[in-house]
Each structure stands twice: as C-alpha cells, then as structure tokens.
Subunit: 391 residues, 2 copies
C-alpha cells in the first residue's frame, strides 16, 4: 500500500497524541488546549435540546445544505459584525466543522502542491499540519513580542515571491499569547497587497480578552477582499460540537463550500439549530463575560504561581486566550524539560512542537491555564519549578 | 485570487443544489437522497440526549480524539462484525463525519494528483466529486444489471495499469440500485490483487434490504487488506448528525486519522456518545427492521405507480436502498425530461448527473422512494407519466 505524497510526511499532532495518553489521576495537565467544562452553557444547551426534540426534531436530524443552517449563518454574521467588525458587502459566511476546517478548506481551495505559506513561528500545530497535508512549504516568521514581526514578514515575502498565503493568529496567538498591534495589522495588509498574497486570519480567542484594549481584526481592516476569517464556537460554547465559521469573499466561499460538500456534506445540523436557538434565547455576551472572569482568575493564578515557583523564567502576561508561553531561563531544551516534568506528574507542551521546522529547537514551553483549576495550577507550576531546579 | 488546480474544476453537486432551490409546496420531490424522518428514532434520541445532559455533559461537549469515542468505536465494530461480517484482525475502525468523509480521507491518503480511480458509471456524485477534488482521473465501468461489469473492470485495469483505486457501491448501488453478486465480488478482489490496486467499498445501504438474499460485503471476502470499508449511520439513525465509519487496515487508518485530525479534529462528540448509548439501550436491529418495512412499502408503491403510469419505461425492482433507476423508453434526454417534469411539479435527477464524464448523455432518471409518502409517490409518478407522454 502506497500513500499519497501529501500524507506520507504528515505526523499526528503531538498535542492530540497527549490526549490519548492513559490518564494518571495524579498528573496535572497544563498541556491541553481545551476550554473549561465550567465554561460550557450546558444547562441552557440541555433546555434548548429538549425544546428541539419536543417541537419535532425531523429537520434538525435530516440532511442540510453545505453552507450551514441559514438562521445560524445569519445570527453568526450579525454577531461577527457587531463584536468583531468583520463581514462586509462582498463577504459570505458558511458554518464549518470547527475553526480547524476553515484552515483545511482554505488550504485545499488555494494551494497547489509545494506552494509557499508564510506563518508565525511558533504557530498552531493543527493549522500547520493542515497546510502540510496539502504539501505546502511553510516559511516561518518569528513573533517579536507583538505577534508576527513585520520586518521579518517583508523579508520573507521578498525572499519568497512565490508565496500564496499568510497564515496568522493575530489575537492571543497560539502558542505565544501575543497580540499584533493595529499598526502591524495595517502593515500586514499593505504587504499582502504589494505581494498579492491572501491572508488567513485564525481568530478563535478574540472573545477571551482579560485586560488591555481590543484591537480590530485584520479582516475588519481589509479593503481588498484579501482576508479569510476563521471563527469558532469552541471557546465560547463548546468544542465537542465542532462548529465554527469561515467569512471570506463570496467567490472564495463558493469554492470552499464545494470543498466542504465533498468533505462532510455539512456540519452537525442538530447543534447548528441548537446554537442558533441558544443565541436567540439567551444572552451570549453575558455568558462570554462569565467565561472571561473564569479564565482571567486562572491566568492570574498561573502568573502568580510562576512568580513564586520559577521567577527566573521569562514570560509576558497574555491579555487573553488560553495560553502562557514561558522561556526557560538557561536556554534548557523544552522537550527534555517536558519529559522530566511528566515524571514529576505535570504536563506541558515543548515549544518545538509549534515550529515550522519540525526538527527545530526551542527552550520555551506552552502552559494552558483554562482547563486546570486554580489549585491544580498552583500545584502544577510548583512541580514545574521543581523540575527546573533539578535540571 | 487564484484557486488551486484541484478545486478549480470542482462543481457543486447537482443534487445538493436542488435541496437549496426554493421549496414550492405543490412540487413533489423524487430527487432527494434523504431517508424518511419517520425512520429517525427521535423519541429515543431525545431520551438519551436528556440522560447525557442530566448525567453531566462535560465530556460529551469537550474535545475528543480524532479516532472517535472509544465505546462507539467498539460497539460499531461489534455490529459491523455481526451484521456485515467485516472487521478482521489487521483492521481498525474510526468514526467519521458521515460516510462521505471516508471517501474524502481515502482519496487524500491514497491519491496523488492525476491518479486514476476506476468507478461504476453511473455512480454517487458526492464520491465522484470527492475523488475529483484530489485531481483524480475517473475511469467509468458500466453497470450491467448486476453492479459493475467485471469484464469491463478487467479491461479498464489493463488499459490503465496506473490505476490506484477501485471505488464501488456493490450493494444497492446509487443510483442504479443494483447488487453485485458474490461471484463478481470475488472476481473484483482477484482483479484488484492482480493489478495491485486498493478497493473502496461504500456500503451505506446494506441494512436496507427489502427482499432477496444477502450478499457478503467485498470487505468480508478480502484476505489481503486491500479493502477500505465505508459505513454510515445516516440511513439507520439520521443523516443530520453526520456520523459514519471507516474500517481498513490499521496502517491506512493511522494515515486517515492524521488526515481527519487536520480536517475537523473529530466528529461531533455529543452525538457519538448519544449513538453509543442509543445502541446500548435500545434494540437497533428492531429499529432497522421498522425502517425496512417503511421503505419496502414505498418501493412497492413506486413500482406499482410506474406500472400504472409509465409502463413503457424500463426499470428493475431494486432489492434494497433508496432509489429506483428508470430508463426512458424512447431514449429521451434525461435532463430535458427532468426540466419538463419540474414544470409539472415533480422533481427527479437526470442520470447524466451521475456519470464519470460530466458532459455525458443519459436517458435514465433516478427516483427516490424513501422520502415521499405513498400518496406523493403515486401523484409524483403520475406527473412523470404525463411528462413522458408529452415529450
């Protein structure tokens, strides 16, 4: 059996593999990317689910159209306009099976084998692997504390005139936690325009801001129909339902819809109906505000624990998102650190897992503060401190 | 904006487009591929959903693993072994977002651009388009009343030594409704072995047999790990939940899982839990038997209506599935017939929509008998007869 070239090199995501590891009840995981179950509006979802079944679930259980459930498309677009300022006249919105599927569909729709994609380095593994799965050549531009470095981007575009796409997570970047400032967002669009490349803006964390001033989405600044915007319900409703959305120029959305049709026909329709009714019946902004309080407290607890247990490490308090990016103080190898940490019953993800160069070295680690409790954060970080002192 | 070569040529499925057409309450659709809402176990699903929410839905709403919910994988494999005789020692099963995703993942995993795939001609549009979306070259082998013609397959394999994959729906073929007999299934495997090609067996209709003798799945006859088996919950539970499964040699499943991970991370977890609990708590075989009775009556009603209203047309009563394939008696153009039928307020799908050659001619039409009521079948077929008489 011979595999396709595009898939031969693809490795399963290190993070997903971690989820599969047998759970040891004493091990504290700071390695996940999961939202907290306390942040799921489960009681409200239960009520809406019961309502859908009671009023005849036939159409929610039947085949639907690939673009998604029309009332959810409209309500999602309304919220995207109101909250993110995205969704202009030439744009269309489709419902996808999570934000992940937007990356997959954009890659399939835009890239030929071997095409160059410029990304932040480090970046989200799931997206990098989606791009790799279409044989993209990844060119990494470092983050400089304020998202993708724009001088680095300019250089990369000059050196790679064949580049087709820029992939960016400008707000609470995963894993680095950084926010790209307004001036950089404008420059990114200017550079994209000069070099005629498309931009894929992955924005699943936007709602989870715990401090500082909001910055407009890159998509909101785009006057040329150059930005594909990926949104997600995973962090504000629940990830297990696999719902997100793509917002992009309508000609591109038409092709992405054709690609989605052959991929999964449409996303789970029952939960599309459920999320629409949830948004219609409850105050989602109040719910998101509660998520923010929950996560703000955990972020602050992690910051305090780091100050107590490994003050010599380097990190910047992220203004939002789910992650804290920590540079080990003596340039220690992140992989070796995480291996030893696991022996001390705490899990983190080595920074090298997020690099464009899969064999690259990083002395950083990514810590998640959304899933563990405040108590687990305190204990987990103490164990990390212990690991560090013994290295 | 420039699209990838693979996606540039891809057209949205004609059938899906029909679903989007504004509904005219007087028009009867015999054009769908939908199961009947009466065949959804909605009351039982409601009870299970309430139970999941009541017992704490946190894990059903959280991220899961790409392979699928382990208890559902096990229960699905148990049923696949018991009912279909598939799932041997070297095989593994993963849960997918409908049977459609199995075709997508198999294509992505096995095919390089321009690789040849041999299919029945006509065949299922969704699968043909999934193959096309990876730039596959489709070579059609006609159905001869008993599924794919084996002499035709042998010729095609000889003429296309570069072929990588055979795509087949051997049981209640969509659209032709035919069943490939045991001898042909064995010969198909021998030919695949001789020419070293893989086989993708798409088997969503197996449970819906209304008469005649069951025939083993091709996968059940496979001694070489050459067959990828695509199963679906769409026709026995509900399609809107988007759940199916892939059963294949474990090395291939590992690659398909990596491809699934970058596509949608995993399938809707809540409904994976729900279907598992449904299968654990209720008698799914009794439910499937009820679906069979419902559809058998509709199939027979359509057969009777055809005998009454267009006896000069040619068709064979299918032993199962959702479709009746009708050859127009005077070689009339199926597209023109369906256009005129729509004016008479009845919809059917022209046979040409299912051809490997997208511009090909067919004087057949596909009729669906699972969705319309017996009354609608009678009226709809009467309108088709009227259309025929006026051509």
């Amino acid at each position: 059996m011979e595999f396709s070239r595009r898939i031969s090199a693809l490795k399963p995501s290190a993070i997903r593999e971690i989820l599969k590891a047998p759970a040891d009840s004493e091990t504290i995981s700071l390695a996940a990317g999961n939202p907290s179950p306390e942040a799921f509006p489960a009681a409200e979802m239960a009520a809406v689910a019961a309502e859908i079944f009671a009023s005849g679930a036939a159409s929610a259980l039947q085949y639907g159209i690939s673009e998604g459930y029309q009332p959810l498309r409209e309500r999602t677009l309304e919220r995207a306009r109101r909250v993110c300022g995205v969704g202009g006249d030439g744009d269309e919105l489709i419902i996808t099976s999570g934000g992940q599927q937007v990356v997959e569909l954009a890659a399939k729709t835009l890239l030929n084998d071997g095409d160059t994609v410029i990304c932040e380095d480090p970046s989200f593994i799931g997206a990098l692997n989606a791009l790799r799965s279409y044989s993209a050549k990844l060119v990494g531009v470092p983050c400089n504390g304020a998202g993708m470095d724009m001088d680095g981007l300019e250089r990369a575009l000059r050196e790679h005139p064949e580049a087709k796409l820029i992939y960016t997570i400008p707000t609470f970047q995963n894993p680095a936690g950084e926010v790209m400032p307004l001036a950089s967002r404008k420059r990114l669009l200017e550079l994209a325009s000069q070099h005629n490349v498309m931009v894929l803006e992955d924005d699943p964390y936007r709602d989870l801001r715990y401090g500082g001033e909001g910055v407009p989405a890159v998509k909101a600044l785009d006057g040329e129909g150059r930005v594909i915007y990926a949104g997600s319900f995973s962090k504000i409703i629940a990830p297990g339902i696999r719902l997100g959305f793509a917002l992009a120029p309508s000609a591109l959305i038409a092709k992405m819809t054709a690609a989605k049709q052959v991929s999964d026909v449409h996303s789970n329709l029952f939960f599309q109906v459920l999320v629409e009714r949830y948004m219609a019946s409850y105050d989602i902004e109040a719910h998101v505000a509660r998520c923010r309080s929950l996560y703000r407290a955990r972020r602050d607890a992690m910051d305090a624990a780091l100050k107590r247990h490994m003050p010599e490490a380097g990190w910047v308090l992220p203004e939002g998102g789910l992650f804290l990016w920590v540079n080990l103080p003596g340039g220690e190898d992140g992989v070796e650190f995480c291996r030893r940490a696991k022996e001390k019953k705490v899990m983190a993800v080595p920074g090298s897992a997020f690099l464009c160069d899969e064999g690259g070295f990083s002395s950083a680690i990514r810590l998640n503060f959304s899933l563990p409790s405040i108590e687990q954060i305190e204990t987990g970080v103490a164990r990390l401190g212990e690991t560090l002192r013994e290295m």
